[in-house]
């Protein structure tokens, strides 16, 4: 690469990054600025909107519900998807394409369209079983399928599943032991990745909750915004920061775990 072209490229890159940083960071900063405004034009900066979060019972309930939903969805996703994917790779190779097709299907069925078909199911569930918001986890599991499938698929492709399970089985391990003590410990970053992606998707979900008449975090933020814009924006900033923290955990833990487990790749 010639010197002049290198300089030109670096200038171009700097300009692009500068514009991108402005476009993506200013709105988040503005949101924080907005949430610390006092009432009235000349009022001093205040954190009263933030302090009002715990004393708004609607928000506290919704935050708990969304966190519970995130945990339940992640656990259900792992319990349903991981054993199925392992089993198909070991015993039913022919089904691999079908499972993949089904798992990626939610990408071509928009949530707003799927909710039309799932609404009768939820009416039936709330009449016959429970009207708890935690029932949303059933639908959320479908929404996270494509993302969870892709990360678990990448994790399973990186380990020699057949040899590992055959070795464990020949030493007398049952399938439960194989799953929990052989497969899971060999793909920690893929499992973490799938769980955190699912959790962050659930925390940001609005379509299903709103149209199935449940009040999760995002729906509550919207309700509260009608009463107190400052408080709802404060919660929005907090939930966004929380998602960033989740992702930072993901990228750091993922990076470290990958360094530790190249042995499995053999």
């Amino acid at each position: 690469m010639t010197g002049a072209r290198r300089v030109r490229l670096q200038i171009l890159r700097a300009v692009i990054f500068l514009f991108a940083a402005a476009f993506f960071l200013v709105p988040i900063g503005a949101m924080f600025e907005f949430s610390t405004r006092g009432i009235g034009v000349t009022a001093p900066r205040t954190l009263s909107a933030w302090a009002a979060i715990p004393s708004t019972p609607e928000l506290a309930t919704a935050i708990t519900a969304s966190l519970e939903l995130a945990a339940i969805t992640s656990i259900m996703m792992l319990a349903l998807l991981l054993p199925t994917m392992v089993w198909v790779r070991l015993r039913l190779q022919g089904l691999n394409r079908i499972i993949e097709f089904i798992c990626l299907m939610p990408l071509t069925v928009p949530a707003i369209a799927l909710v039309v078909g799932i609404k009768p199911l939820y009416i039936w569930i709330s009449l016959n079983f429970t009207d708890s918001i935690l029932a949303l986890a059933f639908g959320y599991l479908i929404l996270v399928l494509p993302y969870a499938y892709r990360s678990l698929d990448a994790g399973l492709a990186a380990i020699d599943l057949k040899t590992l399970t055959e070795a464990a089985r020949s030493l007398g391990a049952g399938w439960g032991t194989v799953m929990l003590r052989v497969v899971v410990p060999n793909m920690p970053s893929a499992i973490l990745n799938a769980s955190l992606l699912s959790a962050s998707l659930v925390l940001g979900e609005y379509t299903f909750a709103n149209l199935l008449n449940y009040e999760n975090l995002q729906v509550a933020i919207q309700y509260v915004s009608l009463v107190s814009a400052g408080t709802s924006i404060a919660v929005a900033v907090a939930s966004l920061l929380f998602a960033f923290v989740l992702l930072m955990i993901l990228s750091f833990a993922g990076g470290r775990l990958q360094v530790r487990s190249p042995r499995g790749r053999a």
Partner: protein, 292 residues
Amino acid sequence: MNAAARPLGGGRRLPLSWLGVVPFFIYVGIFLLLPTGIILAGSLVAPDGSISLSNFAGINQPYMFKSFTGSLEISSVSSILGAIFGALLAYAVATGNPKGFLRRSVMSAAGVVAQFGGVTLTFAFVATIGTEGFVYLWLKDRGIEMYPNGVWFFDLPGLTLIYLYFQIPLMVLVFIPALDGIRPQWREATESLGGNAWHYWRYVAGPLLFPSFLGCTLLLFANAFSAYATANALLTQGGVILPLQVQALLTSETGSSSPGLAKALALAMIAVVLIVMSVYALLQRRTSQWLR
């Protein structure tokens, strides 16, 4: 389960191994395939209970047509702009150090922001360029009025701008593998044959990247076409785009009297996304031929 079932199976292994995938198929059967089936079947049931295509005639109304054009407009504008800006950002990332801090943080941030949407995202823009927003007030203090011809922010142009916030990062995520596949040797080969930068982009990199670029634009289109939460939070007027029309049919009194119409509309949306995503998959396959 396996051990208990073995005596019954009488040593035939094939039927037993199917048991392992039964929970998965039951689950997706109930919560994914059954709802899709409900949409398909329900769209064919007329309000009087007979089987007909009358629901699709119901879509063919001026107000429905208007939301369809609205959806097409915002999806195509936001996907084309998102693809161009996203490709530029991806290029700036791909030409840097592949293991560097900058690339890692941009990719992580893109992963979060591409999923961002709904009320939170709308608030962020209202707090920035809304009429009480930070940037709006800052410019106003300096004598610059952002909306000299009326506030366009709470309408489709504003929504398009907000969509770019998640479209650009999505483009970075899906387009960067293609950019990484470009070898520096190809540029050197072009130069040693006497070609300049224009020749390189026009005859080497451009034709290689174009199918992927087009495919990623289609993915962005499908993404914008399906988005609902952001539009619902921003637009004060209902039914401007298709997802809001679906919502109106699902929640309003008139909707419950014609449930078939909501399903027909949902089916139409699925059909559009399905076609767009199929072309995307074809273009991606074409790209993956040289991408290794």
